[in-house]
Subunit: 299 residues, 2 copies
């Protein structure tokens, strides 16, 4: 069993109170794939421009990420420029250039199997729906999103939610989509769309899980230093789905652990710029932080 991840690959230019970096590797599929790769084989589907570096492709391959689904198109890779102030929970977008992502409709490579789990990482819901309809997935399907799509692709997003199992979004997005200020009310509203499970990510405050019978919550791992929050949500989704893909079944126990692993992977991601917080660690570091997390939260 593997996990298929579809989403963006990008060059980000990021400024935070702790530094400034230009054209660093980013994108929702990038963070999610690397995060999931600690637990399971991953197939990535995305598109990059001819300016993309071969060294990144090799980095993915070394981690067990099958890159045959990365299309290289004439033009430039997707670019995003953003700035965070001391309130690291909100990014101010300075510029977005879709470049090769504009109108991208991938061919689904033959090695992508419907039985595999599928993570539709944050990208236009129309593209997420297109991929869904082409793969016709039989495994667990999760979808992540962002405020932009809730505003401009609300109908597409709500249509997609009818077909998938697990929907991840942050607290501000949950309030935006539902029009409810209380997160329990927001989760109930979202569940009415037909999606079976909802995860509301609260950044440095942890995450909440809702499904018909099941509710639980995990705090976020306490960090001394957050350098760059970019990709935290994608990393959370990738870690959660990567862990679930490796388990025999999706149940109360595995879902709770998946939420904790998502939270822990995200905690590594935000400690450094780009994907360095993830590529500089091993499974042993993850296990050690998991045990520390247990100590921090048990009562």
């Amino acid at each position: 069993m593997a996990l298929t991840v579809i989403g963006s690959m990008a060059f980000d230019s990021i400024e935070t109170p702790f530094g400034k970096k230009r054209d660093i590797l980013g994108g929702s599929a990038t963070f999610a794939s690397i995060s999931a790769s600690f637990f399971t084989p991953v197939n990535i589907i995305s598109v990059v421009g001819t300016d993309f570096s071969e060294k990144y492709i090799k980095m993915f391959q070394k981690r067990g990420v099958d890159t045959r689904g990365i299309e290289i198109k004439k033009g430039n890779t997707f670019r995003w420029e953003a700035k965070y102030n001391y309130d690291l929970s909100h990014a101010e977008t300075l510029s977005t250039h879709l470049n090769v992502f504009d109108g991208f409709r991938p061919l689904i490579p033959a090695h992508i199997k419907p039985v595999d789990n599928l993570l539709l990482a944050n990208i236009d819901p129309d593209l997420q729906s297109y991929i869904f309809s082409k793969i016709k997935p039989k495994g667990l399907v999760a979808c992540d999103t962002m405020n932009l799509w809730i505003q401009h692709r609300r109908k597409s997003l709500l249509n997609l939610l009818k077909k998938i199992d697990l929907f991840l979004l942050n607290d501000a997005e949950a309030r935006q989509l539902s029009g409810e200020s209380n997160l329990l009310d927001a989760a109930k509203f979202i569940s009415k769309s037909g999606v079976k499970m909802v995860v509301i990510k609260k950044g440095e405050h942890g995450a909440l899980f809702f499904s018909g019978k099941l509710r639980f919550m995990v705090p976020a791992y306490l960090l001394e230093r957050i350098t760059d929050p970019t990709g935290a949500g994608d990393t959370f989704a990738g870690g959660m789905m990567g862990y679930l893909t490796r388990q025999a079944s999706v149940n109360d126990r595995s879902l709770r652990k998946a939420l904790v692993y998502g939270s822990i992977l995200a905690s590594f991601a935000v400690e450094q710029f780009s994907v360095e917080g993830l590529t500089n660690i091993t499974r042993k570091d993850i296990n050690s932080r998991y045990r520390h997390f247990e100590k921090l939260t048990k009562f």
Copy 2:
């Protein structure tokens, strides 16, 4: 063993998006005493005016709160008027009338024993210090505060912290006092003042505990409806100290549980205006929410 609680007793006029109430029972000692009374005998020290109602005094007594330390002074009871918008985490103070609290320096009644635990609920640190110096406590001593005192009584507060065991404040106040944006850094700064244990309350996001060797965190109980957040922090402090007063010793295990009980008591308090969320429940309701909390958070 009992818990002595010193703090304010007040009439609050509160407006939230869910209603508007005039001259309802409030004050830090009020919320903290009622919360602690579920676990331990409480001695309250405070002052009210001749406009205070005997029915409230009886309500305290019925709950095992010894009211001999409530001084009735000629004049009006402390009054506070505030408004919350949909972001219930911040109260806008519309007016404060100290009334009988102005310059209040209580005589310590003979039944207050130094061996009992002491909670210096939120009130002017000069008054907290005065009480401390008069009681010369030998038990566990906790202190709560607010942004106003951090701004105007910073020196007094830092002096007091040298002498006490446990300091409770919220996340914004921790950042204000320390000048640190990261809460771990803030806790380290505060610990340098000499206080042994620091609890940072994060409202709907739970609470963090820090001491030399020990760190842990609890999420807040998920609520369908928050009606009035007034007194949540006082209730948290009272529940935590009430629970600890009932335990044989203050250790890792009892401190973790105390944090959870503080969080649960606060969850009841915010469901209704004034103290009604607390006076309408029994210990059985608390136990049942504790078990639900375990289910919500275990992994």
